[in-house]
């Protein structure tokens, strides 16, 4: 199971890791600072057969590939909406494939969650593994949370794009793969382009063959491309939001640690997956002034989703204090005594798996740290944008 990967670490290792991560500042086993991510290698547009693709790999060899494919699909009409009558008998045909429903938005464009299909493939795990389902649900939840993303897939009232995001982890997961998959998905979406629409109104759509003219799904602001986004959709894109990113943060003692490795996660008191999105910096003047009143640096971040990740630390074996260790012949045979000892006050240097939940303050602090203006998320988004354009 991905969320509670079976970790086999000795109690002595766990006690050491926990002690070193609880220091101020924490000493991480790989020497990173608490907010530092593992260095990664990224590239986009690696698969010419897709609408958008990206690859990210870590130095330890963990590697993920995301391919985005788009298909034109007929939007199911439902009673209660203004029915579209066209010469080619649109209404009759629509009744046939009424498989999915579309949400009625206030905007003329509307989107539906079923227009996006996300699958996650992790080697060594079954297709129907709950952990994989959890990961896929988490990633698509972030993408669909604000409802704006699905609207981008609207072509006209009768047709929409159906977007397939296939996330494949190439190597067996050496650590909880969530940050890797999320960052790769982000890059793939940044590089996704949909063919330019040539038809107008509600007629059957046809598209420009010229791939070079295809606009990006998330219009680029930095590259100042000449293709205006308004050609695809009749109403202009409301805000230059970026695709969401999901970060894994954990708390040990008083420390908040980003992008934990497998060993670090094994001693976590609590771990959260937080999805955020940010408006691109060039748009912050209009939006930033409205909410905050004063001009600040950094992006306007929006919180999209939070999920608690079950830290594997609860599943680790507890250490035995020297005083209670029967291997020394001490208190031999009195298993009752050792039981009591295990429940008693913590002995320094002996690992005890955490029990119970997380304090509200800790959870609040984790979320606050992620959403910090001009903080980690900002720099990650900047770096990803650089990786895409570069």
């Amino acid at each position: 199971m991905a969320s509670s990967q079976h970790v086999l670490l000795s109690p002595a290792e766990l006690a050491y890791l926990h002690a070193s991560l609880s220091l101020t500042p924490p000493i991480r086993p790989d020497g990173r600072s608490p907010t530092q991510f593992r260095p990664l290698v990224a590239e986009t547009g690696i698969l010419p057969g897709t609408n958008g693709s990206a690859r990210i790999c870590f130095a330890d060899g963990t590697e993920a590939i995301v391919g985005v494919k788009a298909e034109v699909e007929r939007t199911a009409q439902r009673p209660g909406e203004e029915t579209v009558f066209l010469e080619e008998g649109g209404a009759g045909g629509d009744g046939d494939d009424e498989e999915e429903e579309a949400g009625q938005g206030l905007d003329k464009r509307k989107g539906d969650a079923s227009w996006v299909e996300m699958t996650v493939e992790i080697p060594g795990l079954r297709d129907d593994d709950s952990g994989t389902a959890f990961l896929a649900a988490m990633l698509s939840e972030a993408l669909l949370a604000d409802g704006e993303f699905a609207k981008r897939l609207w072509i006209n009232r009768r047709f929409h794009w159906k977007l397939y995001l296939d996330i494949i982890l190439i190597s067996p997961p050496l650590s909880y793969p969530l940050p890797l998959l999320s960052l790769t998905t982000h890059l793939a979406l940044l590089s996704t382009r949909l063919p330019r629409l040539k038809s107008e109104g509600d007629e059957d759509p046809f598209f420009d063959d010229d791939w070079a003219a295809a606009p990006y799904l998330f219009p680029r602001t930095t590259s100042s491309s000449s293709t205006p986004s308004s050609t695809t959709t009749k109403s202009p894109t409301p805000a230059a939001t970026r695709p969401p990113i999901t970060l894994l943060v954990m708390a040990v003692g008083n420390n908040i640690i980003f992008d934990p490795s497998k060993e670090e996660l094994a001693v976590a008191d609590v771990a959260l997956a937080v999805s955020v999105t940010g408006l691109s910096p060039s748009h912050e003047t209009e939006t930033g002034g409205g909410t905050a009143g004063e001009k600040q640096t950094g992006r306007n971040l929006r919180l999209l989703s939070i999920r608690t990740i079950d830290p594997p630390s609860r599943l680790t074996a507890p250490g035995v204090a020297n005083a209670a260790n029967t291997a020394y012949g001490a208190s031999n045979g009195t298993s009752n005594g050792t039981q009591k000892m295990a429940e008693a006050e913590a002995v320094e240097g002996v690992w005890r798996p955490p029990r119970g939940g997380a304090k509200r303050m800790v959870l609040g602090a984790l979320v606050q740290k992620v959403l910090e203006r001009g903080g980690v998320v900002d720099e990650v988004l900047d770096a990803l944008e650089g990786a895409d354009s570069g």
Binding site: F134, A136, L272, R307, T308
Partner: protein, 286 residues
Amino acid sequence: MNDRRRINGPAGATLAPFFDDAAPQDLDTRSTRSRPPNATRKLLLKTGVTPSASGSAYLEIETSAKPGLSGLKLSCSVHGPRALPKSAPFSPHIVLSTHVKYAPFATQQRRGYLRDSSERDLGIHLETALRGAIIADRWPKSGVDIIVSIIEGDQDRETSKLQGDEVWDMMNTLSGCITVAAAALADAGIDCVDTVAGGVAALVQDADDGSAPSIAVDPIPSEHKRILAACCVAYLPTRDEVTNLWFRGDLPASDLDLYTSLVGHGIQASKNANRVLIDCLSGTVG
């Protein structure tokens, strides 16, 4: 995934045509919330409903959309603790496995017999919520199965479909699952640090005029115009700890207070559910 072993109903559901002289836009099928924003719905909790299981519980939540009709009906059975199979590796803790399954008729759209991804997702959420509550090292080398069947989902017939907000329903369902599973665990006599219960709070907007959104506890999606964000909290009241937090929506990061108060209201809802849970468990003895 196709279930080939059973004869299933038709693949796609159709809705009966709807004729009315009035323009559909004028029809407001939305029922409005009659409860105060910080009041949860009444719930019925009963333990020991399945005698053959080690522990079991049944939960029913009253729907306020149509008085007299119940919304959510959940039944949970706990099997174990029992010895792990010989092939399983040694475990110093109890091995928890959670299954959440909608009955095929529980929701408007018929569900298959095989668990789909949203049910698996709920299962993981439930596992996270319970794992923090149980004292796992009291039962080494043993396993426990927690099976929650959703007999009736919390959906209003007319409106939920049009809104397409099944996700918000999932949060209500999860909070019910957590409460009912905690009752069944206590019924099975498995050591827990505290009773865990679920609670949901949502940030809702009832009018289109751009008025400030308000926070409602235990929301029914069909009663609100729009749900901006919602969170489901699994909370241990005596330890004041959260074992599972699931938030979804769209909140500006600059307004962290909104998030905090949303979680606070979720905890409030969970405390209400917990009172019912305690009453139910102490009532079983007497």
